[in-house]
């Protein structure tokens, strides 16, 4: 590690220039400089590699969360299920929710954001590359801590919103909830760091000419999401800290016998939890706002409306949290006010649906797999949105909340909405990220199975909920099942079968990925006739992203470099292919490119924080060890110069600084 740079020979300003020492670094540990192999991934600060790693970890947790869901559906396929015990079932749904929200959905959105946000704004990397790596490693450590509970006495069992006082040490005596609070705090740190980083990146590092109203919609939505995170994560952190102090250090924040009001937790949780819903869905909205125009060959209809409705959703999203608590006994005034506020938020959401539909209207629609998933999102989210409107009517919600109708609603919104958006993103951007096309035939199977499986799984849940099946019950009974067409038995079985169809569709996607990696066909530079900046570079992009930072003149810059409008017919005329444009950029490459070097410290620091967290559970000495690692790595980090010395490279990097950059 190079802790201190001595003054370099170029900077001779000393009074006694003759005796200034040569440019060397103090210390004898080198910075990691590998550009291939596992070390190049572990210690990287490259936003693209970090993005891919976010994606891989998120996918792993998607599979874990999915298996948890399958086990639950297995248990509920028939009355008095025996697949899981009550205790295990409670752990399953708690961890399914937690994993899907915090370890799959947010990281997967972070994967896309990390990879494509700098590319879409024409930047070489994010503003704080080492912080970016730290965010990733915090997430990974947080996820590991959360799931370590499975092997250390049982996972958290209070439901993903962990209502007090059921989460207290008396009512949940295993260590599961402790791991949960610690894991989420660590993962939350990662999200917070990441969000500040991306905000700074968007505000400061846009390519010349890219005004805020020329930002691609995906970047806009990610920006809104980061603001939501910055304002909502501190609230959940406060709640988690209170819970941790109650469980580990004998505090009584939620102890009713000591005069606490358990509704405090609910307010804290949902002030975070509702914006969190938009944190999950807006990235998907952003993705399909790229995909729909691309495959309709038309710009997004009403770009400013989509952008401002996204911002409005983000803003109003902070004012509707109590609609999760209509049955909690808040009193009629609060309930009425939050009911109306909730209806208000339906308006900007509706605007988005109209805009997407009108984007396709008058277009030239190309039904690729990415497009199918995007259309799937619009359709399924519309259904989820309409069932959402039925919740906004508070009295009606008191019949629906905490039943399967709610489960159906939020899975239509989050699976039908978010997951379909993410899959649309996979198929759309895969050639950009890996230079190979995902198989469209398998993709089509993937889409149709997922669409059918999704409707089979969650569609019947509307019926089950309206028939009065509460959520989170480890068994359901014949006595309350009814006998008519809407009996629990039939629809629970359909739902369980549907969940396995869904699982099959995800499996097909994984097969597609493996097949593409092994013998996928090479992707052309511009396979979709795309519209935005990330396509003005090679696939996959070089480490420095762009050979020349593009200057932006239009909202869909790349498209307008390829086509001009025919004045007479108002149709578009091709003037250049994407290939030609990229080659032209390469020919005019900039010669001096500065990129940050890799670093050990983000990984070490994140591990230190994980050890510190375990110390809360397993004693002070482990805490001391964790604190020591954190302290040491903070020092290492602070003293590390941003670029490694030439002599740290093996063989030493010589020549132009561009070559150095491609290794750093």
């Amino acid at each position: 590690m190079a802790i201190i740079e001595r003054p370099s020979t170029e900077l001779e300003v000393s009074i006694t220039p003759s005796v200034v020492v040569p440019s060397t670094t103090l210390g004898n540990l080198r910075r990691p400089v590998q550009s291939t192999g596992w070390k190049s991934w572990l210690f990287t600060v490259d936003h693209k590699k970090i993005g891919i790693m976010y994606g891989v970890f998120a996918m792993i947790f998607f599979i874990i969360g999915g298996v948890e869901a399958l086990l639950m559906r297995l248990q509920l396929a028939a009355p008095d299920g025996k697949a899981l015990s009550a205790d295990l079932y409670n752990q399953m749904f708690t961890m399914h929710g937690t994993t899907m929200v915090f370890l799959f959905a947010m990281p997967m959105a972070a994967a896309f954001a990390n990879y494509f946000l700098p590319l879409q704004i024409g930047a070489r990397d994010v503003a704080f590359p080492r912080m970016n790596a730290l965010g990733l490693w915090f997430l990974v450590v947080g996820g590991l801590v959360l799931n370590a509970a499975w092997f250390l006495g049982g996972a958290a069992d209070g439901g993903w919103f962990m209502y007090a006082p059921n989460s207290g040490p008396v009512f949940s005596p295993s260590n599961g909830v402790d791991f949960w609070t610690l894991g989420l705090q660590i993962a939350g740190l990662g999200s917070l760091i990441g969000s500040i980083n991306l905000i700074v990146t968007v505000l400061n590092m846009r390519a010349p000419g890219m005004t805020m109203m020329k930002l691609p919609v995906f970047t806009w939505m990610i920006l809104v999401v980061q603001f939501l995170l910055v304002f909502s994560l501190p609230v959940i952190t406060v709640a988690l800290v209170l819970l941790m102090f109650q469980r580990s250090f004998g505090a009584t924040f939620f102890d009713v016998a000591q005069g606490a009001d358990p509704l405090l937790w609910q307010h804290l949780f949902w002030i975070f939890g509702h914006p969190e819903v938009y944190v999950l869905i807006l990235p998907a909205f952003g993705i399909i706002s790229e995909v729909l125009p691309t495959f309709s060959r038309k710009p997004l209809f009403g770009y400013p409306f989509v952008v401002f409705s996204g911002a409005a959703i983000g803003f109003v999203g902070f004012g509707v949290w109590a609609h999760h608590m209509f049955a909690a006994g808040l009193g009629p005034v609060s309930v009425a006010v939050f009911s109306i506020a909730t209806m208000a938020i339906a308006i900007p959401t509706g605007v988005k649906i109209f805009n997407w539909t009108l984007t396709m209207w008058g277009g030239k629609i190309w039904f690729t797999t990415a497009m199918k998933f995007a259309i799937g999102l619009v359709v399924l989210f519309t259904i989820g949105g309409l069932s959402g409107v039925t919740h906004s009517v508070a009295p009606s919600d008191t019949q629906q909340t905490d039943t399967y109708y709610i489960v159906a609603h939020f899975h239509y919104v989050l699976f039908g909405g978010m997951v379909f958006g993410l899959f649309s993103g996979f198929y759309y951007w895969w050639p950009k990220m890996f230079g190979k096309m995902l198989n469209e035939r398998l993709g089509s199977w993937n889409f149709w199975l997922m669409f059918i499986g999704m409707n089979m799984t969650f569609g019947p849940m509307h019926i089950l909920g309206l028939q009065g099946q509460p959520r989170r019950m480890y068994v359901w009974t014949e006595a309350r099942a009814g006998e008519g067409f809407f009996n629990f038995g039939f629809w629970n079985l359909i739902s369980s079968i549907g969940s396995f169809v869904l699982a099959l569709s995800v499996l097909l996607f994984l097969i597609n990925v493996v097949q593409t990696a092994r013998k996928g066909k090479q992707a052309p530079l511009d396979p979709w006739d795309a519209r935005t900046l990330e396509w003005i570079t090679t696939s996959p992009p070089k480490e420095h992203n762009f050979d020349r930072i593009p200057t932006v003149h239009h909202l869909d810059e790349f498209f307008h470099r390829k086509y001009v409008e025919d004045e007479a017919t108002h149709t578009m005329k091709a003037i250049a292919t994407g290939e030609e444009i990229v080659r032209n950029e390469e020919a005019n490459a900039e010669s001096h490119i500065h990129l940050p070097s890799a670093s050990y410290w983000p990984l070490v620091l994140a591990i230190g924080v994980g050890v510190l967290g375990l110390g809360v559970l397993y004693g002070v000495p482990i805490m001391v060890l964790g604190a020591a690692i954190v302290l040491l790595s903070s020092f290492g980090w602070v003293m590390e110069p941003s670029v490694a010395e030439d002599s740290d490279y093996d063989p030493p990097a010589g020549g132009t600084s561009k070559e150095l950059a491609s290794h750093g």
Partner: protein, 407 residues
Amino acid sequence: MSRHAMSARNAHRVRALAITKLVGASIFLAGCAKDAPQDVFQPKGENAADINNLQYMVFGIAGVVGVIMTVLFVVTMTKFRDKGQPIPEQSHGKPALEITLTIIPALILSVVGVFTFRGVFDLAETKDTELVINVTGQQWWWEYDYPVQGDWGIDKPIITSGQLVMPAGTKVLIRETSRDVIHSYWIPALNGKRDAVPGRIHTLRLHADNPGIYAGQCTEFCGLSHGNMRMEAVALSKEDFATWVTNQQAAYKEPEKDSLAEQGEAVFLNQCVRCHQVNGLKKADGTAAIAAPDENVYAGAAPNLSKFMSRNTFAGATWDLLKKDCRGNVWDAKSEEFGAKYLEGVSADCLNEVDLRRWLRNAPAMKPMYADPTKLEPTDGKYRGMPYLALSESDIDKLVAYLLTLK
């Protein structure tokens, strides 16, 4: 190109199906599902009917909007699929259309909002309440106690569990709270749900038009046995309710001398009375046997078993005290005959001995509870649920005989 077109056609067909399924389902649900006891579209009282009207309105609007959107999607995807047309004009939208499309949903929602506002305040009305019942949730059962109310002949408090008994055609106010974690009281046929939060008292109005029995279930996740926490509301005509009140307040009937039941009373005094109160039961020395659940149960209470056999469920309303056909007899009774059948209680012939004995033999094996005596450290040695009591089979025989006398 043709494949794209074909998949597009398939796409909208399936999508249309999905949406009409939802809309159709909600309309269908309202109409003809008769057999699901917790169906939210079958109101049996004023409050639930108010909610149901709002539900019809909002589901109707959602359905209409859903149909319109479906048509829009289908037309868009068929009309504008790639048929080889040139790349269209790169227009960025029409503000006038945008504003219109923003205002229309806003108008629809403000109408819904007005009705919602009224509904919320109507349902919160408590001033014209006729009868008050305290409802207390505890892991994993509900306790009902009836405060002294002379108008209803309730001269000393009545306490029961599992089944809420109320007069039909009466505005009943329940005052909910909880002794441990948050539970939620929900009888879909009578009203929406309301959480029972420890340290707070929440009120909820129940009203049943006709005598009958209405099912419900705890709907706030409340720990291990959340799935086994049920409740039933029994509405009786005012005369039948008066009979029920009189019976609940009637003095304790000692079991016959030298009967199996008398031996059962001894077992009860020896084992069960540690937690379970039976009003009027006397110890051998003639003093009243007062249960001390607060010394053995973490939340501080266990079901009061006075007049146990006048209810027909036990253990958090999860198991029936009536055999299947006897239960059907009560549940399916016409509303005019219901009261008489319910007031019969549980006779020896109708008793569901299988489940009751299983429960007495080993309760935690039947219903997951924190009742392992070796794992009570977090609760200072107190139980959360009924522990395994190691009763002998003959003790169980005696207890069953005794319990049958508590009527």
